[in-house]
């Protein structure tokens, strides 16, 4: 019944449309010749859907034009060139840091970067067993002087560094650093790999990305250097890494890119000293939890087996000759 009424209503809707169409044709036939009638009627029939479609497309296009496009707060130059993605071995899920590279990188940091950049969150003790031996770290710590605890007169004296001391900063404070560097603050490098978009790739690209001279048309303010990877392209730090700037103790050729790669890996270690252990622990967790998952799947199937495999049988009651429902009065029997 419902289906039939629905059919009828659809048909009546069609009839309405046809009526409307025929009405326009009749009107046009009264004014124009009968040869144009067929073409005009088909065009006018489609006018409404075609117009609606055009309106919808136009609205979407206008809305996209207004709100859909990328809105960049910065120009590409202010954004900085996106760094190339390099295949860092230590970024693979199953690889530790290359500690020989860390050792070289620390040498580069000490001989090159440390003249301006601090590494204030790294104590000497964390170098022990990752980059150098205890004796080397102790000797290195003793090269620097640190304040003692106040004595009985409340005065602090100087003592040689210990393993528990942190790497000394090149400047007393940020203001001194700015004053010494033409107003630019050399940032602390302890967490720099985590602190910059692109991480290792950005730092490596920045260190090796200084062109011989700025490209034509680039505006480089006084006292700044051009580096396309640095947001704004004007960086206070000049190019520092040149071939054979340091002499590696393991006799690795100290090319610019080798030094940049080593110091980047070292800075990644400084930012994530727990990485080796974290990756190993992650694999262990995956191994154990996969066994436990398999076990729990098996237990679930084991416990559900009788429920899943049981068969439900319905035996209907025996039918009598005159079922009880036949005795009930049927609704709408009269009408």
């Amino acid at each position: 019944m419902l289906a039939r009424s629905a059919l009828r209503s659809a048909r009546s809707a069609g009839a309405v449309a046809r009526n409307a169409a025929s009405k326009t044709t009749s009107r046009s036939s009264s004014t124009s010749s009968s040869t144009a009638e067929g073409a005009a009627s088909s065009w006018k029939t489609n006018a409404l859907p075609a117009g609606a479609t055009a309106f919808a497309i136009g609205t979407v296009a206008w809305y996209y034009h207004l709100y859909g496009r990328n809105v960049d707060a910065m120009t590409p130059a202010e954004e900085g060139l996106h760094p190339t993605s390099y295949p860092w071995a230590h970024e693979k899920w199953h690889k530790t840091f290359d500690h020989q590279a860390l050792r070289r990188g620390f040498q580069v940091y000490r001989e090159v970067c440390a003249s301006c950049h601090s590494l204030a969150r790294i104590p000497y003790r964390s170098l022990v067993g990752t980059i150098m031996t205890v004796d080397e770290a102790k000797a290195l710590a003793e090269e620097n002087e640190y304040d003692t605890e106040p004595n009985d007169e409340g005065e602090t004296e100087k003592r040689p560094g210990k393993l528990s001391d942190y790497l000394p900063s090149p400047y007393k404070n940020d203001e001194a650093a700015r004053a010494a560097n033409n107003g630019a603050l050399p940032p602390d490098l302890s967490l720099m790999v985590k602190a910059r978009h692109g991480g290792c790739n950005y730092i490596f690209s920045l260190l090796t990305g200084y062109p011989e001279e700025p490209p034509a048309g680039a505006v480089v303010p006084e006292g700044l250097n051009f580096n396309p990877y640095f947001p704004g392209t004007g960086i206070a730090m000049a190019r520092v890494l040149y071939d054979d700037l340091v002499e590696y103790e393991d006799e690795t050729p100290a090319t610019t890119s080798q030094m940049a790669k080593d110091v980047t890996e070292f800075l990644n270690w400084a930012a994530e000293p727990e990485m080796d252990e974290r990756k190993k622990m992650g694999w262990k967790v995956l191994a154990v939890t996969s066994v436990l998952t398999a076990l729990s799947v098996w237990v679930k199937r084991y416990k559900w087996a009788p429920i899943k495999t049981r068969k439900l049988v319905y035996t209907p009651p025996i039918q009598t000759k005159s079922p009880i429902t036949s005795k009930l009065p049927k609704p709408d029997q009269k009408s």
Binding site: K95, T96, H99, Q100, R103, T133, D135, K280, K284
Partner: protein, 67 residues
Amino acid sequence: MAGLSDFVYNTFLRRNFTMLGTVFVSAFALQMAFDTGSDRIWDSINRGRQWKDIKAKYVQAAEDDDE
């Protein structure tokens, strides 16, 4: 086969305190085996990259300096 499982059941699992002992001892042993095995795999994957692989060079050098 039945003899073995009977033996295991009667020796380790039948009484509560032996079963508890079995649980603790086997947990300890499994932990040791798992850690040792995973460390060995990890070290073989990362051969030559970790500090313990290059430590010998520098410890040796320090001793030579002392002499």
